[in-house]
Symmetry: C2
Subunit: 487 residues, 2 copies
């Protein structure tokens, strides 16, 4: 339960997740324009930031457990770098205005920048790297704020680049995905898995013309959202496929069964097993499931022959994690892309790519998971970490409070006070409670004269505390620190 | 020494800070365009990221110690939000291309977005907030990469918004700045401090016409880089000031002395003390130094009447931190800006701003400090956190290695292995050493049969370790964990 680290229940408070006027826009009249964030973007308030930071921390820990390093790339790239990578989604790319100089675009994902990075710096790393990157990406999509679909959003990527033996990095990536989703504490999930080569083999044996394969593939990808009849209609009416071919595809991709049973059905299909892609894809899958067994995550994975994934650049296994109760759809996705880095390496004299660094990666849908976790919060989120509030009784005692704060801060204690000369007592208590600060140090003229303070533990409504426990000034730091350990 | 948290010296390695070909661009021939990051931007490699993350963590800890919450705002804002905020620097703002929809620009700093945030959401927070934000900002400036001046760079801001009593938040901000610079371990520094009201009073009594004040102020601001004669020439020849007026200004802003002596000199100046701004500014300063005393940082601050700061929106004290050896110039800066939020609130029927939330803030020049810290690193930076490397002797033992890794990962141990079926022994050792992994778990057929592993501590060149210490498989996790605590 990572979200409990800095959260504690405060008496008499209930959680108001709504914060309902937070995203309210200001009226236009007075200002000449409407005061708001750009379409599809939002401000994150302090409670949302607590949850987000905890999520990032949890995921980073898992990535580091698997030997990853962090890198960072600019938020925008040369327009040429992003060109011809995203198919028809390229229209969603944000361009910067050309204000004299290079044509640039905001990054659309973290995968293409990583491939560009490996093409530029791969030599420094012997063409191998396991890196994570958590950063914002930008898409001029139609926003659906309530579903967590924004124009500016975080991606959380882990990739393994390098030439290794078959299916070993693939198995580790799936293990990492399982560990990360467990660490995020989102509940039960399953990973739908397919292989581009098996899918391509199905298209080939069913008789899809080679140039139409990616287009038919993206129709298949919609089967989780649309009934088969509509997908079939897209294939035939929109994309001109023979109805008989579409029917054959439909029969394959709707095959059901456990891992072994599905693989067996494919292996027994003589027609399919004459296809080179099918043979290779099946061998990969059988190898992979052996490794998933050794890594203890075989039962988290189901084969789904209808999973196609939108992006063109995948070349091997593809996968998508979904929550079991299925409320939000895909919460992570990825696949193997062996040729993307090579697209930045140019071609040799024989017209072949002169650089190849095979890669596999996963992108965790941190915004969707964030929506789930925020909706699930049923306790107040403490967004500051203040531990001690310094209260004065009587005549303000501003410099005296400052001297106490200096001691607290010097000792590394998180402390605050009211920034007023002569604050009213009730207002100080209200501020302390509002910020859910667990301990209060109280001073008045008497305490100052006697070199004492009074200490009140705000977490307990304990009458015996009265107006606070008297503590010698020289014991103040030690007493506070031992109290804070109880926290 | 925050940078030592995950860094340790590895035998026989020296630090190669150069990584000299890291930013090398790829030739253009093969690709049709030059493979590089956009002008003024850079990739951060894994070692730079370790240093950067540690810096952020250190600074965040200080901010949280002072009760701050985090917020996040979009990387771009409506163009109208940034308009008329940055004077002649507005030409450096990056615009997004208008692709149908609103005109937007990348943020130029974090202050204006924070003011926009407070204007929109201030009510939710009773017009008060202490927030930090660490995020990238964008300026189409002439880059000077070696000096750390980039077009995309991080800012690290802390601000206190709200109506409080005079100079109390101001004193705490300076205390926070001192703590943050100490935490970053940059060595000795001093804070140059001035007050906009005193500066304005000087301009007024010297006879600068009111409309010219900000322009003359920005000439004064160059005195730390240019000799007085050149600043004087800018005032008179470029900006049309009477030479006699410039001379009077020169006499004031070059006044030298300790805090009290300087304040006394100003107070004894009858001419100046007839000026309302001078009276108010001096009162502020005297109050402030009393508070700085109580907070234990008075000796870190020097008054510098020539400090003017470029931005127009400051209204009270302004300040800038510099390292004592002065190698890199300003490493942090800020000031009080009481009217910026009001610029987003429109005006009431009497033409006055209908919203006012006074603010004070500081921005830590994290990129410059990063350059100092990177240059100072003289030990190898371990950029991965791997603790254990699993090595097989003999026939690969891939699944056996995977089963061990599964146990290690389940136990939360950061572990890796070579992603090959039958890796050569020397290559495994080389990988373990390259990643500076402290412990190796070794298995061969004999160990597997006897339910044992062998353990080797790579940090010690200890002959008695021989080919490793034999450990029962059932004790493996406990033994590794206790070894790792020695780390």
């Amino acid at each position: 339960m990572i979200l409990n680290w800095y959260i504690f229940l405060y008496p008499d408070k209930t959680f108001n997740s709504a914060n309902s006027d937070f995203s309210r826009q200001q009226p236009k009249e007075k200002l000449g324009f409407q005061l708001k964030t750009p379409k599809g973007t939002k401000d994150y308030n302090e409670k949302e930031m607590v949850v987000r930071e905890k999520m990032f921390l949890a995921v980073k820990e898992i990535f580091k457990k698997h030997g990853a390093v962090a890198i960072d790339t600019p938020a925008f790239e040369l327009k040429d770098v992003l060109a011809n990578k995203y198919g028809e989604d390229s229209k969603l790319i944000y361009d910067l205005a050309v204000q004299g100089g290079e044509a640039c675009s905001l990054r659309y994902d973290l995968t293409v920048p990583f491939a560009r990075f490996m093409a530029m710096h791969g030599k420094t790393y012997q063409q191998q790297m396991r890196r994570y990157q958590i950063a914002k990406v930008y898409r001029r999509d139609q926003p659906a704020m309530t579903k967590g679909r924004l124009r500016e959003f975080y991606q959380c990527d882990f990739d393994i680049a390098g030439q290794y033996d078959p299916m070993i990095p693939d198995a580790e990536i799936l293990r990492i995905l399982c560990e990360a989703l467990d660490a995020l504490d989102i509940g039960s999930f399953t990973i739908r898995l397919n292989h581009r080569k098996i899918l391509d083999a199905i298209f080939e044996v069913c008789g899809v013309p080679e140039p139409a394969i990616r287009s038919i593939s993206s129709a298949v990808d919609k089967l989780d959202k649309l009934p088969w009849e509509e997908v079939q209609r897209e294939m035939t009416e929109q994309k001109g496929l023979e109805p008989a071919v579409a029917d054959k595809i439909g029969a394959y991709i709707r095959l059901q069964g456990g891992q072994q049973s599905l693989l067996d059905q494919l292996r027994e299909d003589e027609n399919l097993m004459k296809n080179k892609n099918a043979i290779e894809g099946l061998a990969d899958m059988e190898l992979l499931f052996g490794f998933l067994d050794a890594l203890g995550i075989r039962d988290k994975v189901t084969i789904d022959l209808s999973l196609a994934r939108g992006l063109d650049y995948y070349t091997g296994i593809i996968y998508e994690a979904i929550t079991i109760d299925g409320e939000v759809g895909s919460i992570a996705a990825g696949g193997r892309y062996d040729n993307l880095v090579g697209m930045f390496g140019g071609r040799n004299s024989k017209g072949k790519p002169s650089l190849q660094i095979p890669c596999i990666g996963v992108s965790i849908g941190i915004e969707r998971i964030f929506s789930i976790l925020m909706a699930r919060q049923n306790s107040e989120i403490k967004s500051n970490e203040s531990e001690v509030y310094v209260v004065s009784v009587g005549d303000g005692l501003l410099k005296e409070r400052m001297q106490i704060l200096r001691e607290l801060w010097d000792a590394g204690i998180k402390a605050s006070f009211m920034l007023k000369n002569k604050p009213k007592l009730e207002k100080q208590w209200a501020a302390c409670r509002k910020d859910q600060i667990p301990l209060a140090v109280i001073i008045g003229p008497d305490e100052i004269n006697r070199n004492e303070i009074r200490l009140k533990d705000m977490r307990f409504k304990d009458e015996s505390q009265g107006s606070g426990i008297v503590v010698k000034r020289s014991n103040m730091i030690a007493t506070l620190k031992s109290r804070l350990q109880v926290l």
